[in-house]
């Protein structure tokens, strides 16, 4: 009858004896390296067997005779020494490998010594992009018969620019009752050694929209990165956040009314630079096509009827892109492990902004405007990371201010119209209990809200809103949120108030990537 000990010896011997055969390596260094790894694993196992054997020798109750065990131990040790020598030789052979004459040095990652695997242990399925799907289900009930979103769009000073008729942003208007908002479907992968690509589609019941499809460079020197395609601009703080990253169900008023529900989401190129400094700083510049309805709308070419009976036709010309330029800087001092702060400044300038307003009964627009627009903003984010479990005690304070100026010619007249408007929000999210967050937000649009036309200044009142949200995250991958908000929107000088209750369920399927600061 075999004792377990004898079995262990046999296995160990078999392993050690199989080593010389395995050591006859082929010429391929990768195969060689594989073999070395296999050998190492085997050697570790035989070492373990040896240790067991030694322990058995030390123990008096061993089944086999001590002399017999001693003999086997010596034999094993001899074999192992030989195997170790073979391993050393192999190791030396692999680490001395020179790059072949047809291997360009930059392209193939340099051959690393045996132990220096630079691979990442990852469950991303081989060569397929990482895929994530984020459904977003919202139940809504407001006290104005479902008109809350429409009232918001009529806010004094902000309404009226219908550059693209019938275009519906999926984030603002919600039906009373159940809503299926855009499902985010994202594919991400490294294309090759030089580029990462992200393709993110917003899938709604109406269709599919390419929300972000861009490449980003991996290998530029000096802390430079180039991004190109369609993407969320790096201006501000909230702009680059997708709806699933928002701390509330809806976009803040400043972004909603000055940039639209999606923020500044454009086609173009972005160059960022992170210099080597004692503090974190990122500087970026963007060349964008300029299609944002509220900042860089290009309606032309279009010939619209003149004003009145004898008015000359009003002509909107087309301008080739890029029409919108942005710049931003973000600075983050090192505040240790528990605190983090980032402040940013952004600027956007559009060399073309056209608006067509207020069609009358015959479909003739009353206002046709053509000119330029600029926007600037400041943002600040502070985060406190508490050691308590599952986010309890964590605090995030976030504030932004955006100001927009539109400098437009009123076509068909000799007037120019200058619009100055701004918006801001202030929000706090606190980890009340593990996995449970309480958020509060105050947002306002139109603290400055004026139009100067032909020397005459018209001022409008501001619209504001208060929102509270309770968010429960059963895991990192699911989220249930209850939100109540109360808004006071100025429409034609009158105060229109509404309240709205929202319930949201957000689910994150698949390999969802890490979120930036």
């Amino acid at each position: 009858m075999k004792t377990p000990l004898v079995g262990a010896i046999e296995i160990a011997l078999a392993l050690v004896l199989s080593i010389p055969a395995a050591a006859q390596a082929g010429p391929d260094p990768r195969a060689l390296e594989e073999k070395v790894r296999a050998l190492e694993a085997r050697q570790a196992e035989s070492e373990e067997a040896l240790a067991k054997l030694r322990a058995a020798l030390a123990a008096p109750s061993s089944a086999a005779s001590p002399e017999e065990l001693q003999r086997r131990l010596e034999a094993l040790e001899k074999e192992q020494a030989a195997a170790r020598a073979a391993l050393e030789a192999l190791r030396a052979a692999t680490s001395r490998r020179e790059p072949g004459p047809v291997e360009p040095t930059g392209l193939v990652p340099k051959s690393l010594p045996l132990f220096g695997s630079s691979s990442e242990v990852s469950s991303g399925t081989s060569f397929n992009p990482s895929i994530s799907v984020i459904p977003d289900i919202v139940w809504s009930r407001d006290d104005v018969k479902g008109e809350a979103g429409e009232i918001l769009e009529e806010a004094d000073g902000f309404h009226g620019a219908h550059a693209e008729e019938g275009h519906d942003h999926g984030h603002g208007g919600l039906d009373q009752g159940f809503n299926l908002r855009e499902t985010e479907v994202a594919f991400t992968a490294a294309v090759d050694a030089y580029f990462d690509v992200q393709a993110l589609f917003a899938v709604s019941e109406e269709g599919i929209e390419a929300e972000e499809v861009f490449f980003q460079t991996r290998r530029l020197p000096w802390g430079l990165q180039l991004k190109g395609g369609k993407f969320l601009s790096g201006i501000g703080y909230a702009n680059a956040h997708h709806p699933h990253q928002w701390d509330f169900v809806d976009q803040n008023l400043a972004y909603e009314l000055l940039l639209g529900g999606h923020g500044l989401n454009e086609k173009g190129l972005q160059l960022t630079w992170v210099p080597r400094l004692p503090f974190y700083m990122k500087v970026g510049a963007e060349l964008l096509q300029g299609e944002n309805e509220k900042l860089a709308s290009d309606v032309g070419p279009e010939v619209l009827p003149g004003l009145g009976e004898e008015g000359a036709p009003r002509v909107l010309t087309a301008k080739s892109g890029p029409r919108l330029f942005t710049g931003f800087v973000k600075v983050g001092p090192d505040l240790g492990y528990s605190n983090a702060l980032q402040v940013g400044f952004s600027l956007a300038s559009s060399r073309r902004h056209q608006e067509v307003h207020d069609h009358d009964a015959d479909g003739i627009p009353e206002g046709v405007l053509d000119g330029t627009a600029t926007l600037w903003g400041v943002d600040a984010v502070y985060k406190y990371d508490s050691p308590r479990p599952w986010g309890a005690g964590d605090l995030v304070l976030q504030a932004e201010y955006l100001a927009r100026k539109r400098d437009l010619d009123v076509l068909g007249t000799t007037d120019t119209a200058v619009f100055r408007q701004d918006g801001a929000y202030l929000q706090a999210v606190y980890g009340l209990l593990p996995r449970l967050q309480l958020g509060a937000r105050w947002d306002v649009a139109g603290l400055t809200n004026e139009r100067v036309r032909g020397g005459a200044k018209t001022e409008y009142d501001s619209s504001s809103r208060f929102t509270a949200a309770l968010t429960f995250n059963p895991t990192e991958f699911s989220r249930v949120r209850a939100q109540y908000q109360r808004a006071e929107i100025r429409v034609d000088g009158e105060k229109e108030s509404w309240g709205r209750f929202l319930l949201q369920l957000q689910l994150s399927l698949g390999a969802h990537g890490a979120h930036s600061f």
Binding site: K110, F115, G116, K330, D385, P387, P389, T475, H515
Partner: protein
Amino acid sequence: MKKTILASALLAASAPALATMNVVASTSSMGVLATAVGGDAVRVTVLAPPDRDVHVLQARPSMMLALRKADLLVAIGAELEIGWLPAALKGAGNAKILPGSAGYFEAAAQVPLLETGEAADRSQGDVHPMGNPHLYLDPVRMARVAEALAERLASLDRPNAARYRGGAASFRAAVEARVPAWKAKATGAKGVLLFHKDVNYLAALLGVPILGYVEPLPGIPPTASHLRELTGRFRGQKGVILFTDFQPGQGPEFLARNLGWPKVRLPLEPAVGATSEEYLKLIDRWVDGVASGK
């Protein structure tokens, strides 16, 4: 004359820079390895504070700052830092240290992992299908990682190669000197009830069985029914409940009270800037914890 100036300028430019290597460690245990291997030849920055759960950390600008200046990133890997390290890397814009480059080093890629090949099914909690990433409480695996790290540092900084290999060898020797005492101490331990799958490697090294987990599923806080079930299952047996500083204490306390077992709460990671001696002392404390379940 001009030629000599040019030649000396070229010489100065090509002379090996004796500047210290900037090593960024994702956690303080990886920082211990970098310090043990690199000594004075490396400057080590640690990204994650030792008293936080690395699963749920968020990327901070200061991480990006450190990564921007890094020559080498030493991570635990196996997707443990997936929630923040990729974002911090992206924000840093440092091509040298991206996965696949010579400046990226992941401990999980250097040693065989436990619990590999589990189904990638999140209904089973926050699972790591590529294996359990919490290898840092296994000093034997850490010694092997240190050797791999020494080779990597040697390849990046040839003049100091001998020093790196020496550092790894003395770390290994220090570990090997203690292993017999650790094993002896844990002999006869009946088993450990862990909060999370974070002490599995040490338990495997000591040959002590893992009885169960206070979490019903990885990443899910303990529920009353799960705690009752554990109490029912282990009543009358012997063992110890082990958990760490950032894990809530109510569950372990309930179990300790109802089972009459000791409960031991210890830091999972050594302090930032800890020496290898301090790391091994932390392992001593964990071994004492495991051994108290007799």
